[in-house]
């Protein structure tokens, strides 16, 4: 029950999805909206929302706007913002958490990234390292876009010529890292609430 037209009252709902956002909010509550993160971000030019605005929306519980933006997808984890934040907030980590939340919510804007990360990790899970051709195959099939491989063709050929691409076909692999991955998944599902500091 919300008494607010546009602002979902922050940190109030018990719904699981909101709980997740609450946790992210908690990480950055001490934010003073100074804009240091945005000024520092090397990818800011490509973002539709500045990081400062993104964090503000997190605090104001504006999930729709958050997940319709690509800002968090574009975080390249350079840690500039974390380094410079006068409040010492774990901003890069919060970005990760947004990515995870987006993945769980199957956010459309995040689909590409999610497919990319997922395919990458799947290959790692199978073999303990990335097999590039397998990774690409998984990625293209996840994206369900037949034209997509063409976009990467030129880059792929260049890399192949330099011997940078493992050409072995996809396989189940030895799955020696599977236990580790499972453990991480279990831990994540526990939804540990971390303190913001």
């Amino acid at each position: 029950m919300n008494k607010v037209d546009q602002v979902p009252a922050a940190y109030r709902s018990n719904a699981e999805a909101n709980r997740e956002m609450d946790d992210i909010g908690r990480m950055i509550r001490a934010c003073i909206q100074c804009g240091t993160c945005s000024g520092s971000c090397p990818n800011e030019f490509a973002m539709d929302l500045t990081p400062r605005r993104l964090w503000r929306l997190v605090l104001l519980g504006q999930e729709e706007e958050i997940f319709s933006s690509t800002t968090f997808c574009l975080c390249s984890a350079c840690y500039y913002c974390t380094l410079r934040c006068p409040r010492g907030l774990p901003l890069t980590e919060a970005m990760y958490r947004l990515k995870q939340a987006a993945a769980r919510r199957k956010v459309k804007a995040y689909r590409t990234s999610e497919a990319f990360y997922g395919s990458f990790l799947e290959s790692v899970r199978r073999h303990g390292r990335v097999r590039e051709s397998e990774f690409m195959t998984l990625y293209f099939s996840a994206m369900k876009n037949p034209l997509l491989p063409l976009r990467f063709a030129s880059l792929g050929l260049k890399l192949m010529a330099k011997g940078k691409v493992d050409l072995r076909p996809p396989s189940r692999g030895d799955m020696r890292l599977a236990a580790l991955f499972d453990k991480v998944a279990r831990l994540e599902s526990r939804q540990l609430t971390r303190n913001d500091r």
Binding site: V7, R12, A30, R53, L60, G88
Partner: protein, 1152 residues
């Protein structure tokens, strides 16, 4: 038996130390004022300009009554007071004992220039070959190894920086008075024993030390060393640790038995560092790590030597200790330094900027970039550098930077012209003091001034010009790259250097940020009784607050020393001067020949003859070098030998003779104002001896002043040793208690029927202290105190009088009238929460004020558990006309309530709509806590304030909606809220009639107008009237307590004396000439003049008169005069000084 000492020790001679010391000294206590540095004035000695006048004004702290006990010149130059012993280069090294009977040890740094001999001629500095960066100018310029620590100090002896001095001895050769005593002459007598089994180590050590002039012996084993120690008086032993046979530690132990006072330094390889550290517990002084670095070793040995030489540890007993050690500034190079300080040459700190625009600074006040001398036309200030920064462990606001940045930006405009562009990058503009908002508004109106609410994350040099480029995100979300000529970092404050050691030594605790901790609800007390914290040492204060807390500390120290009022001490030591009244002036002129720059043979007879054309001159004595002890001795002998009633000293700068004249005056029992010193102008850079015409003119001008000097004793004003305090809130009660504890009778008049004031409804402080409990304690202390007469339900109906003797009529609760005589009055009439009609207040029970919320949370009529949403709006009617000031307490109160709500119900959504959150100092940490607790802070623009809609509903259940815009997200928000809490601010409660009764001015808002907002923050212009608490300006309860103590301290200056006089010069009225036009009364800035009761005479209260002479200048016929500046004196002075250069000196010859 009275063993208590009424002497106080004040540690730190910055402005707060000076204020504490002066307050104590003026109340009759002896004070030892020490400072580690070689000059007084602290940080303020480096700042020429302070807002809001953008100039200095420190001199307004000088004594106003009994002015003759102190110096009357620019306080930045120095401070003399009969009751203050100022020791510079002096540190506190130990404290023992208890209040009233502390024993403290002071260590005086050795001086290599004898301050009594140094004349400040500066020739030494000219020949000194060593140049090092100049600390005084924040490293922006260089100085020599022998230098003036402060360019403008009085007296101003040169000092030697031992670390920089290379002992070349050049200064020694040129010093005309032999004032320099390079300690290396004595180094040869300082025996050092080097003990090591390795010959190479011994030899190299010996070589280095001998080069430095020390006498060095060597021993190859512990056994040999012990024998040598028995033979000779070694001052220092350097011993290896790992030696065959007796090792270094054993040697140390046994050596200490032989020579307990021997200083031992252990020499160690890396492997035995721990042993070396252990050895220090056994009594080793320090250790040196092999391989030796001479750059580290030599200074250590020199320091040991200097300390030995000094050995002037002074042990004294004091009754109380005031710590006024101030603060230091954050060094941006010490952190991650993304702002490029020390990397980009055009990035400087605020302090460096102050030096840059200072007349005594490296560029003599021209605003140019220090690195390349190019003009700075576009300057940026970056706020919160090392403040409000969790990354540098600074979860506090430094409180002063916002205003100093604004001031510096204004100065830039003044110095470099109106078209200079200035930008201040800030987060919250903390203009929380009463006059700040107006200053800020005026600054903002200056063309070229820009405020950017954003944080700049880094500074990079422009690839071509090297100028600093700032990258920042504008409020509109656009990323901006902007190039500036100069970037100034508004660095925040840190605890003063060595505060930790001071705390350890005094046994006082530090707070979590490293500042001396004060007791809760006791703003200046440390946890060790008898030791108090003055000024900004307890953290983050501007000048005004520092001065208030300094006075408060002085009051507490005075109380701690006990012993009742200090009047007996001050009144008894009056010097009885010879009575020379009614005698014709008979003057002895003592003329310095200044190393024969005035030739005794050639010029002497001319000078004498010329001076004697004035029949008042009885004798002219020539003495060479009056500035030296020997010279002055001769002068003193000459003066004592004859019975002259005036003495004129012709020498160099009169400031140098302030102390000497006082001593001479006491010695020959001639009042000090009958002895005068004039500058003959003989010294100076020009080395050719001047023609005697000018010195003669100056001597004649001096004669003119002396001849007409007033010989009468200064009139005095009788003082009633009692006080009246009007207002029984926390400030008034505190003021009353402080004076009562000091032994004075106090009448406390309170309008309402009970004491307590706003403590009546306030519950807790932001840090959780119980104010209700405080209220009960204070009220019972006041009511049970034998020295306090409490009159509740009473009011002031009228009164008159001046300092020392006010007569006030009081109406009691049943209408009975009584008249009270009292020496001082303290107004503590307080203030109240403002009422409002804004934001729908009054239209719904859901809309309340913060005061109501405080009460409702306490009596649980509002329970957070039942609140889904709370909105709070800050700055309701505040910080804009007509109430254009910040009420200061609202932001902390709001945050306090947010935290309380969140604590009781974390699910309540709390929104705070604000302009700038004002949580100065350590309160910032609660702001952070509130954000962490999930409170949403939404800034609003004063032009675009939130809107409140109250929709009809049942009574008490109306729907309240708040519309606002979040500028960062750009969202237009509508928040439906259960509760809307308005921070309406504070308005004073100082009735105009009451103010008029005590001759007090009120400002446009109705607050008490202090004599000076920075330097005399609790005084009225009218002496003897003070104020404390909210009627001075909005402040929290604990701050109000400090003002209560401060007002008491200022009052004690007066009522601890039986009689007070003003000082020279002072105004007088010649009634036979006076036409009663009353212009002088109107002109007097101190209200020291009034018509007598018959309205037939203008009378001057000589304790209030400051001798400014405005009254004399408005009086057309000299009915109002100012002694020392009578018309005759001025006319003859002008006469004397208009002599042309070629005027014939010799009457007969008509030529020189």
């Amino acid at each position: 038996m009275k063993t208590n000492s009424s002497k106080a020790l004040v540690v730190g001679a910055g402005i707060s130390g000076i204020r504490s010391a002066l307050d104590l000294a003026e109340s009759g206590h002896q004070v030892i004022l020490i400072d580690r540095s070689l000059h007084m004035g602290g940080i303020l000695s480096r700042l020429d300009y302070q807002f809001p006048t953008n100039h200095c004004g420190m001199c307004k702290m000088l004594p106003l009554v009994e002015r003759d006990s102190g110096s009357q010149f620019c306080l930045r130059k120095g401070l003399f007071h009969d009751n203050i012993e100022l020791r510079l280069g002096c540190e506190l090294t130990s404290v023992s004992g208890k209040p009233g009977e502390f024993s403290v040890t002071l260590r005086q740094a050795p001086t290599q220039v004898d301050p009594d001999l140094c004349t400040g001629c500066g020739i030494c500095s000219q020949v000194c070959p060593v140049e090092v960066p100049d600390d005084f100018n924040a490293g922006l310029a260089t100085r020599k190894a022998i230098y003036l620590p402060l360019p403008h100090a009085v007296p101003n002896p040169y000092v030697i920086d031992p670390a920089a001095c290379d002992h070349c001895g050049k200064c020694l050769q040129v010093c005309p008075t032999g004032a320099i005593n390079l300690s290396d002459q004595q180094r040869g007598n300082f025996l050092i024993l080097v003990v090591d089994d390795e010959p190479a180590v011994r030899d190299s050590l010996k070589e280095w030390l001998v080069d430095e002039g020390f006498a060095v012996d060597m021993a190859e084993s512990g056994r040999q060393a012990l024998e040598m120690l028995r033979d000779k008086d070694y001052g220092l032993m350097l011993t290896d640790i790992k030696m065959p046979g007796m090792d270094g530690v054993e040697l140390l132990q046994r050596a200490k038995q032989v020579r307990p006072e021997l200083t031992v330094v252990m020499m160690t390889a890396y492997a035995t560092v721990e042993t070396a550290v252990e050895a220090m517990k056994e009594g080793a002084f320090d250790y040196l790590m092999k391989p030796f670095d001479p750059a580290r070793m030599i200074p250590m040995v020199v320091r040991i030597f200097e300390d030995r030489m000094a050995a002037r540890d002074l042990e004294i007993g004091v009754g109380a200790i005031v710590l006024a050690c101030g603060t230091d500034y954050f060094n941006p190079a010490e952190s991650k330094n993304t702002l490029g300080y020390g990397i980009c040459p055009h990035v400087i700190t605020g302090i460096e900027f102050e030096r840059l625009v200072s007349g005594t600074g490296p560029t003599a006040g021209r605003l140019v970039r220090p690195a390349d001398g190019k003009p700075a036309r576009k300057i940026a200030w970056l706020q919160c550098v090392g403040s409000r920064d969790l990354q540098t462990n600074t979860d506090y606001c430094s409180s002063v930077c916002c205003m100093y940045a604004v001031k510096e930006a204004l100065l830039a405009g003044e110095k470099a012209g109106e078209d200079v562009e200035t930008a201040i990058f800030y987060m919250d503009m903390r203009a929380f003091g009463l006059p700040f908002q107006r200053y800020l508004d005026e600054a903002a109106a200056r063309p070229g001034m820009r405020f950017e609410r954003t944080r700049v994350h880094s500074v990079t040099p422009h690839p071509e010009s090297g100028s600093p480029v700032l990258t920042y995100m504008g409020t509109d979300g656009k990323l901006v790259d902007e190039t500036f000529d100069l970037v100034v970092l508004s660095v925040g404050q840190r605890p003063a250097r060595r505060t930790e050691q001071l705390a350890e030594m005094t046994g006082c605790k530090l707070n979590q940020w490293g500042f001396p901790a004060t007791a809760p609800l006791d703003p200046v007390s440390t946890d060790r009784p008898g030791i108090f914290v003055s000024g900004s040492a307890s953290g983050l204060k501007d000048i005004s607050e520092s001065v208030i807390f300094a006075s408060a500390a002085a009051a507490r120290a005075a109380v701690a020393m006990g012993g009742g009022d200090g009047s007996s001490e001050t009144d008894d030591k009056e010097t009885a001067y010879r009575d020379v009244s009614g005698r014709r002036p008979k003057i002895m002129a003592i003329v310095c020949t200044c190393g024969q720059r005035l030739s005794t043979d050639r010029d002497g007879p001319l000078v004498e003859k010329r001076l004697k054309t004035d029949p008042a001159v009885g004798e002219v004595v020539f003495v060479d070098r009056l500035c030296t002890a020997g010279g002055w001795q001769k002068a003193q002998e000459a003066a004592a030998a004859k019975d002259f009633n005036r003495i004129l000293v012709g020498a160099c700068h009169p400031y140098l003779f302030v102390k000497k004249i006082k001593a001479l005056s006491a010695a020959i029992r001639l009042a000090p104002h009958l002895i005068d010193a004039v500058d003959l102008g003989l010294t100076g850079p020009d080395s050719s001896p001047p023609a005697p015409a000018l010195p003669v003119a100056r001597l004649q001008a001096g004669l003119a002043r002396l001849k007409a000097a007033v010989v009468d004793r200064l009139p005095e004003v009788e003082v009633a040793a009692t006080a009246l305090v009007v207002g029984g809130g926390v400030a008034g009660m505190q003021a009353a208690l402080t004076m009562a504890e000091r032994g004075h009778r106090v009448t406390l008049v309170e309008k309402s029927d009970r004491l307590g004031g706003n403590l009546d409804w306030l519950q807790t402080t932001i840090d959780g202290q119980d104010l209700q409990d405080l209220c009960r304690t204070m009220v019972s202390e006041v009511e049970s105190h034998p020295n306090i007469k409490t009159m509740t339900g009473s009011g002031i109906v009228g009164g008159y009088g001046q300092v020392g003797s006010f007569f006030t009529t009081i109406r009691g609760p049943d209408g009975e009238i009584s008249t009270l005589e009292h020496g001082v009055a303290i107004l503590a009439t307080g203030g109240r929460e403002a009422t409002t009609t804004a934001y729908g207040y009054g239209s719904s029970d859901r809309i309340i004020t913060q005061r109501r919320l405080e009460q409702a949370l306490a009596d649980t009529s509002i329970k957070p558990a039942g609140l889904e949403t709370v909105v709070m709006i800050q700055c309701v009617d505040s910080r804009r006309k007509p109430r254009n000031y910040c009420s200061r307490v609202c932001c902390p109160t709001t945050i306090k309530h947010c935290l309380k709500i969140k604590q009781q119900n974390p699910e309540t959504a709390v929104y705070v709509l604000y302009r700038d959150i004002m949580t100065p100092g350590f309160m910032e940490t609660y702001f952070t806590a509130a954000r962490r607790a999930g409170v949403i802070f939404i800034p609003y623009d004063p032009e675009n304030r939130p809107e409140v809609e109250v929709a009809d509903g049942e009574k008490g259940a109306e729907s309240v909606k708040v519309n606002c815009t979040d500028p960062v997200s750009g969202l237009k928000l509508t928040i439906e809220t259960d509760l809307l809490v308005l921070a309406t601010g504070i308005v004073p409660r100082l009735p105009a009639e009451l103010a008029a009764t005590f001759g007090v001015d009120v400002d446009e808002h109705g607050f008490f107008r202090p004599a000076d907002s920075k330097w005399r923050p609790v005084d009225a212009l009218k002496e003897g009237v003070f104020a404390c608490g909210i009627c001075l300006g909005p402040r929290a309860a604990v701050e109000s307590m400090a003002t209560g103590q401060a007002a008491a301290s200022r009052a004690l200056r007066i009522i601890s004396r039986r009689r007070i006089s003003s000082g020279h010069p002072v105004a007088q009225v010649r009634y036979s000439l006076c036409a009663l036009c009353e212009r002088c009364i109107e002109a007097c800035p101190y209200r020291a003049r009034m018509l007598d009761t018959d309205r037939t005479k203008v009378v001057v209260n000589t304790a209030m008169c400051q001798g400014c002479g405005t009254c004399a200048a408005v009086c057309p016929n000299g009915a109002s005069v100012i002694n020392g500046y009578l018309r005759q004196q001025m006319f003859e002075t002008i006469d004397a000084l208009t002599q042309a250069f070629d005027e014939p000196l010799d009457l007969e010859a008509g030529k020189v």
